[in-house]
């Protein structure tokens, strides 16, 4: 996938099917300046997500969201900015055509947080960019391998733990960002725990861009419409662009 190199990258996250009008939210995020969008494909056991995205996932499955349904809706929107699917290994390993189906729907990349590096091989070099994750606990040696094998960008998890909003950006974020950018030609996006414009701006200074997930889904679950969500993302965009 092609991400912009002339400004800091902003990638909001949205759980597919969490609310009825989720593709309206998706369009609003694009209109508000998203450089790419991460779309969560709901899985029954989101073991690496925090409370907010768990809740969004549960809402989506309860509403009857299915993989096929989400892909159909995505294909209506695809083509404007890169779309990255994120989901769990169970959905990925059971279907030989999984990556192809995502590609056909318009996805450009895939994130599978519970897929160990050792088991990534069969999903690399498919039709889709397999985006790898790094965390503060990742050794330098392993970072080298992640930097070499990741496609599209590297997703840097800024704190140990699960997704979710946090008051301050973890100190470990700076260290990880430095270690990654030193060895990586791909863009490095920081995620997990970023919610305010100030945090986003700060994080963007450390790396090539940020992912905003739980902060968005909290607003969606609390009933924010596309316009409100767009306004929120715009505030982030502006803070990042001002630096």
């Amino acid at each position: 996938m092609k991400l912009p190199s002339d400004h800091k990258i902003l990638m909001p996250y949205l759980t597919g099917g969490a609310v009825a009008d989720w593709t309206d939210h998706l369009r609003a995020l694009i209109d508000a300046g998203a450089d790419a969008i991460e779309i969560g494909l709901p899985f029954s056991d989101p073991t690496l997500d925090g409370a907010t995205i768990q809740e969004a996932t549960h809402a989506a499955l309860t509403r009857g969201a299915t993989l096929r349904g989400i892909l159909t809706r995505v294909s209506e929107v695809a083509g404007t900015v890169p779309l990255v699917a994120s989901t769990y290994a169970n959905l990925v390993v059971r279907d030989r055509d999984f990556c192809g189906n995502l590609r056909d729907a318009g996805f450009d990349g895939l994130i599978v947080p519970d897929l160990p590096l050792e088991e990534c091989a069969e999903f690399e070099n498919q039709d889709l960019d397999l985006v790898l994750l790094a965390s503060p606990a990742t050794t330098d040696e392993r970072l080298d391998e992640i930097a070499r094998r990741s496609r599209g960008f590297v997703y840097a998890v800024t704190v140990m733990g699960t997704t979710g909003e946090r008051e301050t950006l973890a100190a470990s974020a700076a260290d990880l960002a430095r270690r990654l950018t030193n060895r990586c030609e791909l863009p490095v996006l920081l995620g997990f725990g970023i919610s305010t414009p100030a945090q986003a701006a700060q994080a963007a200074q450390l790396a090539d861009g940020v992912v905003i997930g739980a902060a968005i889904m909290r607003r969606v679950l609390d009933g924010a419409g596309p316009a409100e969500l767009g306004a929120y993302l715009r505030s982030i965009r502006e803070a990042m662009d001002e630096g």
Binding site: F43, S44, D45, P46, T47, L48, D49, G50, A51, Q54, H58, L61, T66, L67, Y88, A89, N90, L91, V93, R94, D95, D114, L115, P116, E119, A137, V159, M160, G161, T162
Partner: protein
């Protein structure tokens, strides 16, 4: 990964193994007896030997594994154990080991299981453990496991994840099997004197995640004994599951066509998990073990029959194995005169209120 290295080094260290064997003898009550079920055997026309894990400290085989992992955690310098629990047996075992080693323990348990298993919750708290209610999903074991893992990911520095079954990421399925193989190794030795043939015709154990079965089978996998894992009708990962990935392990899980993992439903809370350990998939694929199911009604009947003939009130989980032997002896699947070793994984005290409602 750290855990794997630590376990490899500990398991190769005679001092660690001696210390563990010592604790199993002095604190757990090992070796456990191999009890000839004389009256039930006569009724069934087979020779049934019960490997009595119900007689261990805390009342189930879970303690074998937990003592091993707690010893490993101490060796690794951790100060806290994190665990998931369903019926509370693994939680009680973890709380027990934590108290023994002076560690703190945090046990994640579904809110619904907390209501159903109030006594085990109180036991854990008596032992000094923190019990954290999990309110996501169906609020049972699968959700508790997810939450415990989430918590652990953010606390790997000081905390050790103490997995209760042959599940989870490497090295857990292997390590838990190794810690539980004491069941099978002891039973194998005991058979040498208890049976003229030295090796039984059948070795039977119940399978939830499958740790007592894995430990039992480990002692007999290189013999001619036929291995039978008995699953709950409503939690039959081996019998009705499909390949998938959950909680860090690639194995068989009950799931729908979309790959969403289903809730298991069994009268036995300990079998209320939608998957099985990967080793059982392997044994099944090799044809070395077979996996069968029994339903809740057969299980309740088996509990009563074993109690009336042998004076043993078995856990509902363990009674699955008994129920299959009763059925298999009746329909000829077990030829008359067969010798059978059955692992009675735990005692039924915890199930008395559940049974009271059923009988």
């Amino acid at each position: 990964r750290q855990v794997e290295e630590a376990f490899r080094s500990a398991w190769a260290d005679p001092a660690f193994r001696n210390q563990l064997a010592g604790l199993l003898a002095t604190h757990v009550g090992r070796p456990t007896p191999l009890t000839p079920a004389v009256r039930l055997s006569a009724e069934l026309g087979v020779t049934l030997l019960l490997k009595r894990e119900d007689l261990t400290h805390t009342g189930s085989h879970k303690i074998n594994n937990v003592i091993g992992q707690a010893l490993l955690a101490t060796r690794m310098g951790h100060k806290r154990l994190i665990a998931e629990t369903g019926a509370g047996q693994h939680g009680v075992a973890t709380a027990t080991a934590a108290a023994m080693f002076g560690l703190s323990a945090t046990v994640f348990m579904g809110e619904r299981d907390i209501e159903r298993q109030a006594l085990n919750v109180f036991r854990m708290r008596m032992l000094g453990a923190e019990v954290v209610p999990v309110r996501t999903g169906a609020r049972t074991l699968k959700d508790a496991t997810s939450e415990a893992m989430r918590h652990w990911v953010g606390a790997t520095e000081d905390s050790y994840y103490c997995m209760g079954s042959v599940l989870g990421p490497m090295p857990y399925p292997w390590m838990v099997r190794e810690f539980q193989r004491v069941i099978g190794d002891e039973a194998r030795r005991q058979c040498a004197t208890a049976l003229p043939t030295a090796v039984p015709d059948y070795v039977v154990a119940c399978v939830g995640g499958g740790s007592n079965a894995a430990g039992t089978f480990a002692g007999f996998v290189d013999t001619t004994a036929k291995l039978v894992g008995v699953e709950a009708e409503g939690g039959a990962g081996a019998s009705r599951g499909t390949l998938g990935v959950l909680h860090g392990v690639r194995s068989m899980f009950l799931q729908d066509d979309d790959g969403q993992v289903l809730e298991a439903h069994s009268i036995a809370a300990g079998l209320d998990y939608p998957g099985i350990g990967p080793e059982h998939v392997h044994l099944r694929d090799l044809g070395r073990a077979r996996y069968v199911t029994v339903d809740d009604a057969e299980v309740v009947e088996a509990v009563v029959r074993l109690a009336r003939t042998e004076g043993i009130v078995a856990a509902l989980e363990s009674a699955h194995a008994v129920a299959w032997v009763i059925r298999a002896a009746a329909d000829g699947t077990l030829p008359a005169g067969s010798t059978v070793v059955l692992t009675l994984s735990g005692r039924g005290d915890k199930d008395i209120s559940a049974l009271k409602e059923l009988l």
